[in-house]
């Protein structure tokens, strides 16, 4: 984002006009937005603007599945002729209502999939065809700790547009030309509305906890690789991937082939390092058989290794993992326990 984008004016949209606004966009591109599903919401394709649901703090699953779907066909093949055909592109899309924590998740995944010698063409193609509209957060949830990562309710990270919610209207930040195209017919924000937004941004949100001090802790934690503290914190882990699949930054995947007679497809599907068989070799050797080893990998990968390689911590403090864990494993408590452990052992 360069300085030139800043000259795009902020726009305004009344909340009651949101369905109409989305219906208009649906005429030329698909729209994915939070949609109600019983007692929660999920990012889902909209059939009509009125289906959008912003009642919940954040959707149950993160926005990563728009660019990194749980099931992605890499190509179709014919075993007899050995021919390969790649699937057609998904098409132009607007991803609407993305929370700041999920925007940060997209930023982290952008780094991974586009870094290094090999770029992930599937992720990047979806990314290129999607305009992202973020949405400001009204107030933190019980399990939110995004403030530990410098993310606040109005962090717009990679978004083309960002909807700041006032009482009855949104003030829209326009960050890119692509975003401008979608909102150019909306009225510009008035001085009064900008003042209101400024006042709103000045309010300090009430989190349920202090931000976790990460920088030094993460470096030192890596030095305690062989400590029994990992087994201690992971003892109740049952080895499912609930935390992994709802996480905005987790990105491990598997590649498998599915066939029916001669034809088939090569699929990319989500996988997780918390599964006991994740690192199982064909020979039967498994470097990580214990829950403690896997928890250590998860924590160190997210808070240390990924940071070493990509310059971003692979966690956005969204708190979903804390909510969904069946045995109430709480990453915040784990980090706290690790800090305590470091203090305990450094005194020796």
């Amino acid at each position: 984002m360069t300085g030139t984008e800043k000259i795009m004016k902020q726009r305004v949209l009344e909340k009651k006009k949101l369905p109409e606004f989305l219906d208009e966009i649906l005429k030329t591109r698909a729209v994915i937005a939070p949609v109600k599903e019983e007692d929660h919401s999920v990012y889902s394709p909209l059939k009509k603007g009125a289906d959008v649901c912003l009642d919940f703090l954040r959707p149950m699953k993160s926005a990563k599945e728009v660019f990194f779907p749980q099931n992605e066909v890499m190509f179709y093949f014919n075993q007899r002729t050995q021919k390969m055909v790649e699937p057609p592109p998904a098409g132009e899309t607007l991803l609407f209502g993305v929370t700041p924590c999920d925007l940060a998740g997209i930023a982290a995944q952008d780094k991974l999939f586009s870094s290094g010698e090999f770029k992930d063409s599937y992720y990047l193609r979806r990314r290129k065809q999607t305009i992202i509209a973020g949405m400001g957060c009204p107030e933190p949830g019980e399990t939110c700790f995004c403030h530990s990562f410098g993310i606040d309710r109005f962090s717009s990270a990679v978004a083309d547009l960002f909807f700041n919610p006032l009482e009855d209207r949104f003030v829209i930040d326009v960050n890119t030309q692509n975003g401008e195209e979608l909102v150019k017919n909306l009225p510009e924000a008035s001085e009064k509305e900008l003042e209101e937004l400024k006042k709103l941004k000045g309010e300090i949100p009430q989190f349920s906890m202090e931000p976790i001090p990460l920088e030094d802790m993460v470096k030192v934690v890596g030095e305690h690789f062989d400590s029994p503290v990992w087994d201690e914190v992971a003892m109740r882990c049952i080895g499912c991937a609930a935390c992994t699949f709802v996480c905005p930054t987790c990105h491990c995947f598997d590649i498998t082939d599915e066939t029916r007679k001669d034809v088939g497809r090569r699929m990319r599907t989500w996988d997780g390092c918390m599964f006991p068989k994740f690192t199982l070799h064909a020979s039967g050797h498994n470097p990580r058989t214990q829950a403690g080893q896997r928890m250590r990998q998860r924590v160190l990968h997210k808070f240390s290794y990924f940071n070493d390689n990509q310059g971003i911590i692979s966690c956005t403090g969204c708190g979903r993992c804390v909510e969904v864990c069946p045995v109430n494993l709480d990453i915040r408590d784990i980090l706290k326990r690790l800090s305590e452990y470091i203090l305990e052992t450094s005194d020796k």
């Binding site: 149950m60 749980q70 499912c240 699949f245 699929m267 997780g272 804390v322 969904v324």
Partner: protein
């Protein structure tokens, strides 16, 4: 006597068992990091017994940890009556020995759902409030009624036609993200390698394609048939709110009708599908 009155007694008993060296570890509930939550804890020293709690948010079935911890020696476990049913199942299937366990149980008036307000649906339909076996019974030995409002969905489900039921189940399966929290929370799913993990041959595809997901859940429900203790751990573990009880518990109702057997209530009787009796119905043979 309310569940939280049992808390002191459980702490005393746990400290006693550890002090005397009778057990190597007590598996129980501890305070959770969120309101309406508790978490499994593992106590090895008597002074840690203070951490044990008991309240209406103690929903996990702790017997899922028995197979991985049994090498430590004799274990004590805090178990609701439904949890004891799965312990009985594990003993039947030789996954753990009866004399390697000290079961601390109590007469149960139900636990809350994940929302912390309603009674868990499994509890609403549960007719068992006393554990089938135990070593220590906290509180009185009497049948308690389950207290609280719950959403009864079985009556509604049972009234549907088979096609309608299939559509309901399909709708639920569409929410599944194949995280396997249900399978991993289930004490009866103790297989070293689950059928979904096999690659030679590959029985089920990975990812969340609906047909694969339905095969996973239907086959798992059939594997659990006659063994499922109706503890509700699977449904409570699910992050997406899939109503797994509609499969697992309804199959249990069928097993009761066909074989007059309720899993995990009699330590001498193995699961209905694990054995064969001459009296078994055979009117499907034409």
């Amino acid at each position: 006597m309310k569940m939280k009155d049992y808390q002191e007694e459980i702490r005393k008993k746990a400290a006693e068992l550890l002090e005397s060296g009778e057990v190597a570890m007590v598996i129980g509930y501890g305070a959770g990091s969120l309101p309406h939550r508790t978490m499994p804890i593992f106590i090895e020293k008597p002074d840690q017994a203070e951490k044990l709690v008991l309240n209406e948010f103690c929903n996990n079935n702790l017997s899922v940890y028995l197979s991985r911890l049994k090498d430590l020696g004799k274990l004590a476990i805090v178990a609701k009556p439904c949890d004891v049913r799965t312990i009985v199942g594990l003993i039947n299937e030789k996954q753990i020995e009866r004399d390697q366990l000290h079961i601390i149980s109590f007469s149960c008036s139900g636990v809350k759902d994940k929302d912390g307000e309603h009674l868990s649906p499994v509890c609403g339909h549960c007719e068992i409030s006393l554990p089938p076996i135990y070593d220590t019974l906290i509180g009185e030995e009497k049948q308690l009624e389950k207290k609280g409002e719950f959403i009864d969905r079985y009556a509604e489900f049972d009234a549907l036609s088979p096609q309608e039921r299939w559509d309901v189940i399909k709708g639920e399966m569409e929410k599944c993200i194949r995280c396997y929290a249900c399978r991993n929370a289930c004490p009866m799913c103790y297989c070293e390698e689950c059928f979904v993990e096999r690659s030679l041959p590959k029985w089920v595809g990975e990812g969340s394609e609906l047909t694969d997901t339905m095969i996973f859940h239907i086959v798992r429900a059939l594997h659990a048939a006659g063994r499922c203790g109706e503890c509700g751990a699977c449904e409570r573990a699910c992050p997406m709110g899939v109503k797994l009880g509609l499969l697992t518990n309804r199959i249990n109702a069928d097993i009761l009708e066909l074989f007059q057997h309720k899993a995990g209530t009699d330590p001498e009787k193995p699961g209905a599908m694990a054995t064969f009796e001459l009296e078994d119905y055979n009117d499907f043979i034409k």
